[in-house]
Symmetry: C2
Subunit: 428 residues, 2 copies
Amino acid sequence: MKLPPCLSILSGHLCIGGQDCVEIASRYGTPLYVTDGDRIIGNYSAYERALHSHYSRIRVLYAAKANGNLAILRLLKEAGAGADVFSSGELSLALRAGMAPRDLLFNGNSKSPADLTLAIRNGVKISVDSLDELELIESLAAEEGNEVEIAFRVNPAIEVPTHPKIATGLRTSKFGIPHEQIKGAYEVALSREHVRPIGIHCHIGSQILDVDPFEKEAEVMVRIAGSLVDLGVPLDFIDLGGGLGIPYRHATDPAPTPEDYANRVMPVFLRGMKEVGIQPALWVEPGRYLVGDSTVLLTRVNSVKEAHRRFVNVDAGFNLLIRPMMYDAYHEVVLANRALDPSQIMCTIAGPICESGDILAYDRPLPIVRAGDLIGVLDTGAYGFAMSSQYNARPRCAEVLVRGGSITVMRRAETIQDIIVPMEARKW
Amino acid sequence: MKLPPCLSILSGHLCIGGQDCVEIASRYGTPLYVTDGDRIIGNYSAYERALHSHYSRIRVLYAAKANGNLAILRLLKEAGAGADVFSSGELSLALRAGMAPRDLLFNGNSKSPADLTLAIRNGVKISVDSLDELELIESLAAEEGNEVEIAFRVNPAIEVPTHPKIATGLRTSKFGIPHEQIKGAYEVALSREHVRPIGIHCHIGSQILDVDPFEKEAEVMVRIAGSLVDLGVPLDFIDLGGGLGIPYRHATDPAPTPEDYANRVMPVFLRGMKEVGIQPALWVEPGRYLVGDSTVLLTRVNSVKEAHRRFVNVDAGFNLLIRPMMYDAYHEVVLANRALDPSQIMCTIAGPICESGDILAYDRPLPIVRAGDLIGVLDTGAYGFAMSSQYNARPRCAEVLVRGGSITVMRRAETIQDIIVPMEARKW
C-alpha cells in the first residue's frame, strides 16, 4: 500500500512523523488519534501557494469543523490561516487559537440570536443563509449599535459526485439562498442600516475528487458577482468554500492537487473579475484537504473470531470514527506492529459498539492478526475525533500531536468521571 | 396526531408529565431533552408484568445503551431492573445507580482485558462473544484467582425486519458465535477451570415491530438449550435479549405490546423448558421499549427559509439526535408553543450542523412556524442523547427529568469550557 507522506515503516512498525506508533500506543494507550503537525502545515502551504501563484488577494479559511483541536487551529493560525466557523463554539476556539476576527467567517444555516450577537460583538463577518436571518441580524446589530459585514450564501444548484449527505450545493440542500433569489436578497441587504453586504459565499460539498464541479461553481459565482456589482454591491470578497477531497483508497482514488484545483478555478475567476472590473479577495475554505491525511487512529485488537467473516475486534468503533458507518466511507488499515508481514487473509475490523453497522473496514487483506496487535486506521484527521461521541458510555480517547520530533497530548483522554460528573450536579 | 401517554396539550402548549414544555424550555434553555420518569416506570412495569404472568423466574435487564443517564438507571433500579451493560463505562454507571453485580450482564463483541477484569473483580456475569475471548477470560480470571459465570452469545442467523445497522442476529452480523459452532464452544468452556458456563444469550436486533422473529428466536434458543443440557451445561438462565420496537409513526406503525411479545414467546419457552426438563431464569433486555416514548427533545426555531423546501432551522441537529440521519429514522414533531393551531404547510426541520443530511424531519404538515417558536421532537428517549456528539464544537444540551410534579436537571448543559479544558492541559 502506498502510504501518505507522513507515514513510514521502520523495523516493521508503522511510524508517523518519524515516531513509532507501537511505542506511542504503549505510552499513551489506545484507542488514540495521532496527528502529524508538519503534514498539516505542508498541506496548508501547498494549498495557499497553488492559489497565490495565480492571484495575490487569497485568503485561506480553515474549515474548523473538520478538526477543531486547538493545537491544530494554532498551527494553522501560525501558518497564516483564518477559519470558517460554524457555531459559537468554533468561533470561540478560533479566537482562542489567536486568529483575528477579520480572518473568520461565521457560516451556517441555523444560527441562534446568541450566535449572531457573538459574531456582531467580535466584528466577525457573517455568511447569511436566509432573509429571515438577515432581518434578525439587522435587529441584533441595531441593538448592539454595530454594523456587520455580510455575505449571502448562494445555493448554486450544482450536482457533485460525492456522498449525498455532504453534497451541500444541490438544489435541494438546506444551505444557502437559491441563486435565482440572490439578487433580491442583496437588494434587501443594501436597504438595511446595520448590515453591509461586501461578499458572496458558496460551498458545494465535501470530499469531491473531480475538479469539474469547482470550475462550474466559479462560473456561477462570477456570473452572480457581475449582477451584484451592477446592483451596486461593493464586493470585497468572493468565497468559493472548500470541498477538495483526498484519496482515501490509496491505490485507486484520483488525487487532485491544489494545483489542479487552482488551474481550473483561477482562470475562470480571473477572467470573470476582469470582465466585471473588480479585484475582490478570493477566499477558500479547505478542511479535509488540510488535515485528513495527517492522522492515524491507533486501535488495539481485543479478539479475533471466525464466523461469517473473520472479525478482528478492536477497541475503537463508530464512537470515535463514524465515517465508515455514516457514509460507507473507506479508510485504509495497517497492522501497525507488523506492517511488513505479508497479507494472508481477509479481515473485517469490528468496533466494540452495540450495533451491527459498527465496522471500521470490511474484508481487508492483512497478515494473521492476533489479540494484542495494533491496527492503524489511516487518513482520520478530518471528521474523525470531531464527530466522536460517548455512545455506550465510552470515554473518548486522547489525541496526540507529533511535531519536529516531539510528542504532546493535544486532548487528554476522558475517563468515566467525565461522563458521570455532569449527571451528579445533584443527588437523586 | 395521537400523542404518547406522557404527553398532553394544555392551553395550546405541549406538556410532558403534566409540565408545560414552553415554560420548561424558557427556564432551562434549548435545545433540551425532557424525560417523564413515570412513563419509564410504567413501561418497565408493563414489560415485567407481561412476562411474569407466564413464569416466575423473570429478570428484566435494562439495555443501558439506550439511555445511560444515571437518574434513569436509578429509577429502573428502584423498580427492580438489572442492566445489560456493554462497556466498562456502562458497568460503572449501573453499579453507581445501585444495581447489584448479580443483576448485570456484560455484553459485547469486543471487550478489552481491562473491561473483562472489571467484570471479573465485581462478580459480573459475562456474555462471551468468541472462543478467543473465552481464553482471555480464563487467563484473566486465573490471574485474579476468581471464577466467572458466563453465557455465550449465539448468532441465531435470523432475518429481522429492521434497519440493517441494528439487525444484530443476522448470519452476517459481527455478534455472537454461529449457532452451529455453539456446542463446541460450551465444550471448551466446560473444560476450563475459571469459567462456569451457566447461561446462554441472544439478541436479534432493535426496533422490531413484528413479534414473529422473537418466536423464531425462542425456538432456536430452546433447541440449543436442549443440546447444552445434554452436554452437561448447568443452564441457569436463558437471555433472549431485547428488540421490541415502538411506533415512531404514531398513525401507521404497528405497536406490539409486551403482552403480544410474551404471548408469542412464553409458550415456546415454557414448552421447550418442560421438554428439556429445566427451569432456568428467563432474562430479557429491553432498552428502547422502556425509555423511547418517555422523552421529548425541545428545540428552538432560529429562522425559516423558502427554498426548494420550506426549511425550519432549529437549534438541535444530528449532534443531539443522530437517528434521522443515521437510520433514516422518523420522529413525530409538534409545534410545542401552538400545538392546537391547524397545520397549514409542509415544513422540513433542519438542524444547525454543516451537512446536508442534518435534517430532523422532512415535509411535515405544521402551522405557520416563525423564528422563536418551539418544536418538540417526540419519542427521543432511546438512542437520543446517548449518541450525541460535540460536532461543530457544539456543547451538548441539558437533560431534565419530570417526575411527580417536579423537574430536576439530570445532566447539566455543557459549555464551550467543557470542550476547551481537555485540550488545555498544557499550553502550546
